[in-house]
Amino acid sequence: MHARADAADTVPNWPDDIFATLQRFDVRQVPYVPDAGHSKLIQRVLDSSTMRGIPLTTEEEGVALLAGAWAGGQRGVLLMQSSGVGNCINMLSLIPILRFPFLTLVTMRGEWGEFNPWQVPMGSTTQGVFELSGVQVLRASSAAEVPAVLEAAASQAYNALTPTAVLLSQRLIGAKVFTK
């Protein structure tokens, strides 16, 4: 069984803030590889009549999908967890070459009270991988800062074609706890 330490007993509201921002920016395609931290947002997307949630088998598919979506006139956002960022590396080369709006929201593992050492190597290099690949990184560490960070990220990604990743920290999401 999995639970989250530090997470509020009630369902968090910050995913609703993210959803509202994405809706306001007319985001239409939402490719994702599931993560517990994204579960509420994914459900909002799947229940939405204007957004299409698209489950992927691996995260790099989402980068290519967003290029095609933009060619067809639609904006998208890629949802994944930090371990998926490494899967994307070569496909991230499409972003500067094609210059399409790229926004990804990444739930972090491998930091802030992590229990599973296997998450730490990729979690520790997530920000570096993005920056080496030309993707600017913003971070939200508390629910209170989520709306402003999302607003800034979506603005620069969609209005200025600045490839942007928002890291949703494990402190925000709550570290995953493994109980017997």
Binding site: T57, G68, A71, N90, M91
Partner: protein, 196 residues
């Protein structure tokens, strides 16, 4: 290297695109993108020079954004093998306007002709069908290529997948533009979208 009874890749691609009308065509990294250029440059040609394994997913994003437009991915066996999972993703979304044609020469032609998995074991048609793309077929005649080219225009009956066995002859390279921003924005402009 050529075997008898295998199709000529340039003839296959020029037949796929001969009466293309409003088709948007995506050419996978490698000889496929050159074949598309050899058939005639076009504002709706999405030439890929990188992002190996991404052609089918670019097709999916475009097909979902423009559900009334026929979208045709033309790629090679090696490029498709690198993105096999995308067939599962497409099988789940079932975009009825998306068609995928794999030019299967059973080899990595761009890197010296090393044999690919389709030469002895991997069955791409079987994979596509097992991923939920019911209309999946193996093509070995030009008549079948012509029928597939017609079917591409039916945007209500896809997704469809064809694996076309082609000979492995190395042909003269016909190189399309390498400017990705130009390629993408030319497609967007042709579809009526303004620059940001």
């Amino acid at each position: 290297m050529s075997k008898a009874n295998l199709l000529d890749r340039r003839q296959v691609v020029s037949t796929l695109l001969a009466n293309r009308k409003d088709v948007v065509a995506i050419g996978g990294l490698g000889a496929s993108t050159n074949d598309m250029c050899a058939a005639g440059d076009h504002a709706r040609n999405f030439y890929l020079w990188g992002g190996m394994g991404g052609a089918a997913m670019i097709g999916l994003g475009l097909a979902l954004a423009q559900p009334k437009l026929p979208v045709l991915v033309i790629t090679g066996d090696g490029e498709m093998l690198m993105g096999l999972g995308s067939l599962a993703t497409i099988g789940l979304q079932k975009p009825s306007n998306l068609s995928i044609a794999v030019l299967d020469n059973e080899a990595y032609g761009e890197t010296g002709g090393q044999t690919s998995h389709t030469s002895a074991a991997a069955d791409l048609v079987g994979v596509a069908r097992a991923c939920g793309i019911k209309d999946s077929q193996s093509i070995s005649t030009m008549a079948e290529v012509e029928a597939f080219a017609k079917a591409v225009h039916d945007v209500s009956a896809g997704p469809r997948f064809a694996n076309v066995k082609i000979d492995s002859a190395n042909l003269e390279r016909i190189l399309p533009t390498r400017d990705g921003t130009y390629i993408l924005n030319r497609i967007r402009a042709d579809l009526g979208f303004q620059p940001i």
